[in-house]
Symmetry: C2
Subunit: 398 residues, 2 copies
């Protein structure tokens, strides 16, 4: 091996060891260096060196000593540091912007939401408003002694070769990553952009109703309807990263035309606009939160039009989700976003349909449940992704 | 490392090297030992030793010398041996049994089909008939100097923890692998059992219309309708191995009840029985081949009932496949089995629907084409799987 190739190789080994030790701390904290050596297969000397690097990077801290069995010298364990290193999640939604700061332990350290209609707003204006929100929450985090080192942004659209198509925002081939990178402060881990359903699936997988599910389908309901597919603990992205467009599964061949170019799509019966339209709730308030709250109020009161809207959404979801279950064979289906809020009116229909369809083939029925992070799944998953990038390559902080 | 652990480790390394050299021969034949050393990163001495092992196992043979650039000593290249080592694929279909023998080069060396109604036949009787077919084709292969070392069996059902549910055969939790292993001769690589749509997808990926597609969806149309999903060159199996049940995607919420437990499934408009029923073709002949041929004849003549059956099947396929494309984002959709035969009447409808739905989101349209192996996709994929097992662990032949 030539000398510089050898150096590169050793750097790569060191970086992998650093990530390996940090991961072992996360899964076994508080944990002694001796135990870390066992867990990682590295020598005690290497572990001690790597822990020193992680302490210098402020990613781990010494925890209270633990005495095993009451004999001998107590171990000097380490834990993940609850700061200052932090990750920022941002979300652009048709009706709001959201932000969330997590520390290395996964704890939420700051959150903010700005209501407002982003549909039809110019992409650069939306990005500027998002950057403004990011600046305010970063200042709030800094006041708590936190230092944001990476950002991930959830968008309600499909990424096609670094450009975003988001019909529900009026975005057509918008170079979102470039716009966001230019608008947000420079950070060691930069800006990661993904579909909000993918981040929602990860949010529920790591912090919510998907915890422990190896393979599951997360349904993201907002103006649009999308799905994040987790297989073996990882996102399934399809050939080009556009997998999970459940909102454009046809549930009524004779149905309304859809912004996607098709007709009779799930989104046209189960998206927020469709629900409010069928329920006869005017979109005059300008905020989806108000419309959704009004729909919930009317459903609780037994308003016939509201119940009809929920029944149509439930029937559409049942068709699309039984199809998805037959195709993907997940353990669990998690209803997120507005469908988590409307779960009492939707889950029984979906559950019965999923249990019926294909039951004689598979001999098992996936569980159907509501997301436990409510409408926060995507922004939490985005922030968690910023943190996950630090875990994957802690040396990048040096 | 303890001495026996070290020996096990060295064995594992040797086995991996053997598979690595065999794989490099397959992809670069005819190829010299020097070039194999470059391709695998192994030393020339190791490669020479492993090639000698592969020659002894009769998996590779010396090819004609090649002189590179006309100078120096000519290399002594090796190629895959076109025998005697061979793999057997078998298929149980509602209306026929099929068998196919491949050698290590992937060439078909023998094939056979036995028409007959297997629907409602006792599983042990069907397995006995399959074993009889396997014995006859193995004898034929032996007469050509071939030695079958592994078998894979395609079944029109779902495997749930080693038991097969195949409603279209009347099989309910049949221990198919046990029955088949008991009925077929003992071979070094034993018996592999999988869903026929999965094997069909692999058959088209390796030898047919899926060649070169990184991610694609293979639709298998017979009495039932299933799909094999290939992502990044590998089968996608879902959480429990039951992914791809496209036949039970709901295409008509008010449609006929289905054997799966649901109603309005794709299979009820696009499966062979449904097509023949709508076309008014009696299932009296006892063989699907006759029914399918009659349907093709009537379609070519413009018979209204036959055209109506094909239109209903095309509409159902369009709904189910646009949903699958939106969920899975494949490069290509391949119509197999009876739908390959009926492709002229189905592809335009499916292609138009797939191009329309979600087009504004993804900005691209997957290709829709007919399987190029006709009704042989599954049995070829099964035989290829038997061969693939040899490539993965050639040392098991020793």
């Amino acid at each position: 091996m030539p000398e510089n190739a050898r150096a590169t190789h050793l750097d790569a080994v060191r970086e992998r060891n650093l990530a390996s030790v940090l991961g072992a701390v996360a899964h076994h904290q508080p944990v002694t260096r001796a135990r870390l050596a066992e867990l990682t297969g590295l020598t005690k000397t290497t572990v001690t060196g790597q822990v020193a690097v992680l302490e210098r990077l402020r990613l781990v801290v010494g925890a209270d000593p633990v005495r095993v069995g009451g004999r001998g010298r107590p171990g000097a364990p380490v834990s993940l540091a609850p700061g200052p290193v932090a990750g920022l999640g941002l979300e652009v939604n048709g009706q709001y912007l959201a932000a969330c700061v997590l520390d290395m332990t996964g704890a939420v350290r700051a959150r903010a939401t700005v209501a407002g209609d982003n549909r039809g707003r110019r992409p650069d204006a939306t990005v500027a408003a998002l950057a403004d929100l990011a600046g305010r929450i970063a200042a709030e985090a800094a006041a708590s002694g936190l230092d944001i080192v990476g950002t991930a942004v959830a968008l309600p659209g499909v990424l096609v070769e670094d450009r975003v198509n988001a019909p529900n925002l009026g975005w057509d081939a918008v170079p979102a990553a470039d716009l966001l990178t230019a608008a947000l402060p420079v950070q060691p881990f930069g800006v990661t952009v993904d579909n909000e359903a993918n981040f929602g699936a990860l949010g529920e997988l790591w912090y919510g109703a998907g915890q422990g599910a190896g393979s599951y389908l997360y349904l993201s309901g907002e103006t649009g309807v999308g799905a994040g597919i987790v297989v073996g603990g990882k996102l399934f992205r399809g050939a080009h990263g556009a997998a999970g467009e459940l909102g454009h599964v046809v549930v009524d061949p004779d149905g309304r035309p859809c912004r996607c170019g098709g007709a009779g799509c799930l989104e046209q019966v189960a998206g927020l606009d469709a629900l409010l339209r069928t329920a006869g709730i005017p979109d005059a308030s300008g905020t989806a939160a108000a419309g959704l709250a009004e729909l919930e109020r009317r459903l609780a009161e037994g308003d016939p039009a509201a119940l009809q809207a929920a029944a149509a959404a439930g029937a559409g979801l049942a068709i699309a989700l039984t199809g998805a279950v037959n195709l993907l064979d997940p353990d669990t289906v998690v209803l997120g976003g507005i469908h988590a809020r409307l779960a009492p009116w939707l889950v029984p229909t979906v559950e019965a349909a999923v249990a019926r369809s294909g039951s004689r083939l598979r001999g098992r029925t996936p569980a159907v449940r509501a997301a436990s992070l409510g409408t926060e799944s995507a922004v939490r998953g985005a922030a968690g992704t910023a943190i996950a990038r630090i875990f994957a390559d802690p040396g990048a902080l040096a």
